[in-house]
Symmetry: D2
Subunit: 258 residues, 4 copies
């Protein structure tokens, strides 16, 4: 079911959230607490924005996060004002780098926790929704990446369109909800263009996966589950809501589908 | 551009062709001689039929064949009456296990050397030709795997249909040739159902990749390029031809497209 | 702390014990029950004897057993009269193939569960006990491999010596026990020369790790923990004991150190 | 035989030398020109110093540099005032991350091109020269790492000793030369403590491997072979010489052994 964190704020090294907290993302790869699956050992990934390039950097690895020596070193040395990190629990698709989150397209970065059941039966229909000019970006076989590419097609891929990402996500979720019918659709995801950070918590025919955030003047961190025992400082994002953290502004919440 | 070998005959260990000859497939991974690309270091794979299971076993690895310690051990100990081995030179798609040959579907095994240019532009059209009931077998993003799945759809996936594999391949190549238009289509491939071995050499708008075989009463080995200097014993398969090695019979050649 | 199985008897495919039982070794890689560590996700390995070669074949992989597609295929197709399989929970040394069990030297195969504490402090002293003519076989940095190489030096490496493996292991454990002093030494291991199978359960300054076997006329399987719920058929090997399963004979137990 | 680059100067992204030049290190992994081995596909590594940590970051990977998607992303986004990059051609030891350069110990970073023949015969003697308090840093089995650990023991590991690295290297090479006897010793290496950069070109009983540098007011880059066709700007380091590039100063050369 995957666990992830997203950060936006003053530039910090990734270790602050990926490796150092008592219940860091690496600890969650071994023992997640608020998930039906405690183990997230099917690969992991990092995505981050830096100076000099509008496109994010990414690091994907099929080994578990807990045993990758490179991860610790990168998290100590990579500094970023906006980064994503994700540990994967595969739900049927292979453990390849191309199936590891976060996914990227131009300046966009996306990661996801959940599933669109029954994916083997839904796959073709969702992939058909990806427009031709984006289709070659399809590098793996996950539902997550396919949903990202369909999301991009709701106007985000066109830089001149200035499409609102929350509005685009609403359109995506409306279409997916219709396709899901009686089956569960779980969508807890993060999206960014390098400036603003968006996170979404949504579920139909099943309880939405957990999502929390902690905000301070220096930044906001959005997480699948709290990174430490100081529970009072973690605010739960309600189900069927979008979290919007625009650069230099505080956190806003907005409803998703009515 | 890849290099491969296919064997059918008395059961032997894979080392006879994969690792032991002076110009073995592992040597070809470092220094292929009859290819525009001498280096085939972008992963490799084995496929073999054994007792007790109609479906072939496979082994895929993203490391180069020359540095994989497992490969040597497996080739010494795996014995088979019909096996494939393939070293890959990627032509644009990522080095993941799901992009490594040979590909499998039920009892079918397939591997390929060549390309369908311009793949990024052709990809969607070829994938659209894969029928719904086979589509979930699409695990990677190569042109090779997509062509295999379309080939299966020419009747091979239906076990009751008893479709002739050469006829199915003719249909596939006719369709692909039309799609390729003025661009090169290179298709040097091997196919088996665990009983019979088929190999194909075909090219349009470019010279077909090389293909040779050596036959003896104990078996036939089909190769991208000769495995040793005894050139007189290697027979070149003509371009636009199918090689048919039915179980317990000799080698036959048949034309492909007229 | 690792989990493993060893089999000797009529030739069978590895899947019988590695992947098929309800509490198979692959299931144990996710959820071991009789270990202080439930997760054994730090690589795995296979070792097996076959026809035609006195030396065993091996397969080592740094990915967890549960997500390696090759493992399932190999276990279905590799058949052997004597094989080992091991899933690793690293205790401080890196996750590399050279640190994955089983280890091999000539016709010998060895795997281990336990540790020699404090390894970072003991390492040099143990490695010093490896004789010069064996030293280059040291490929990794685990205590397990080092103990194997010292064991070989108790006469096993010399094929003409016809040294009794149980006696050699007694000598090894006596030396290690002396070196361990007040610190724990846990040694639950399997050893074979391709003919006979030996397993050992030993612990000082700590409870020895569990070890069980199930014997039938067709063979014996020795395991870290039972592979299914039919507990009555699994016999616990007592602590401080050697299990001896000579080719074509039943199981014998013998005491280790007095 | 390996290829490498080392840079010291104004902070730049690693892509300037690792991936962008016409004959970049990644190109050299496929086609090195001034080496007996053109292919350097047996893993690679990066090491770099950054703000906030005296210890360098490292990234090691067993895949070839040319097919690792992470490498390109990291080189675009990692910025450093002093970094190393290395592509490996193994000379007998396995392709594991622990055998990939650069090696690190505290604030020291080291990488090497060459060999100490006959390594299987010399190994134990060289490893015996590693002092007890450094011995646990031995993570792999290469001659390169062993030589680094012996080098550290010439005073560098003791931070209060303020040992001159060139003098320490002279001591190392004198000892190794004596041990090599009539056999070749090739040592072309880079060393840094995060402030100063040292490079060495040395060979006995064989021609020393090539070494070049290019200096400008903004920094110095030291390379196994030139990164572009502008040969006039690349200065060859003479054999049996040390290159010293102290932080904020120009390049000095000093003789090694007399």
């Amino acid at each position: 079911m995957c666990r992830w964190i997203a950060y936006s704020g003053s530039a910090i090294t990734l270790e602050h959230y990926v490796t150092q907290p008592s219940h860091s993302l690496v600890v969650q790869s071994l023992r997640a607490l608020e998930s039906t699956v405690g183990l997230n050992g099917d690969g992991f990934g990092l995505g981050w924005y830096g100076a000099g390039h509008p496109e994010p950097g990414t690091y994907h690895e099929v080994r578990p996060a807990w045993s990758d020596g490179n991860l610790k070193s990168l998290c100590r040395h990579l500094s970023s004002h906006l980064f994503f990190a994700h540990v994967r629990a595969a739900t049927g698709t292979p453990v390849t780098r191309t199936n590891c989150h976060p996914f990227t397209f131009g300046r966009w970065l996306f990661m996801h926790n959940g599933y669109l059941a029954n994916w083997p039966r839904m796959r073709r229909a969702v992939e058909t929704m990806i427009p031709d000019d984006i289709y070659n970006a399809r590098g793996g076989t996950t539902d997550s990446e396919a949903m990202f590419l369909v999301l991009l097609a709701q106007g985000l891929a066109d830089e001149r369109a200035a499409t609102d990402p929350v509005e685009a996500t609403r359109k995506l979720l409306a279409r997916l909800t219709e396709m899901a019918g009686e089956e569960p659709l779980l969508f807890t995801a993060a999206l960014s263009d390098g400036q603003d950070l968006y996170a979404f918590r949504y579920g139909v025919n099943a309880t939405a996966n957990t999502l929390y955030y902690r905000a301070s003047p220096s930044g906001v961190v959005v997480v699948s589950e709290p990174l430490d025992d100081d529970r009072a400082t973690w605010i739960e994002v309600p189900s069927n809501a979008a979290l919007i953290a625009r650069a230099g502004q505080g956190v806003q919440l907005a409803p998703l589908l009515s």
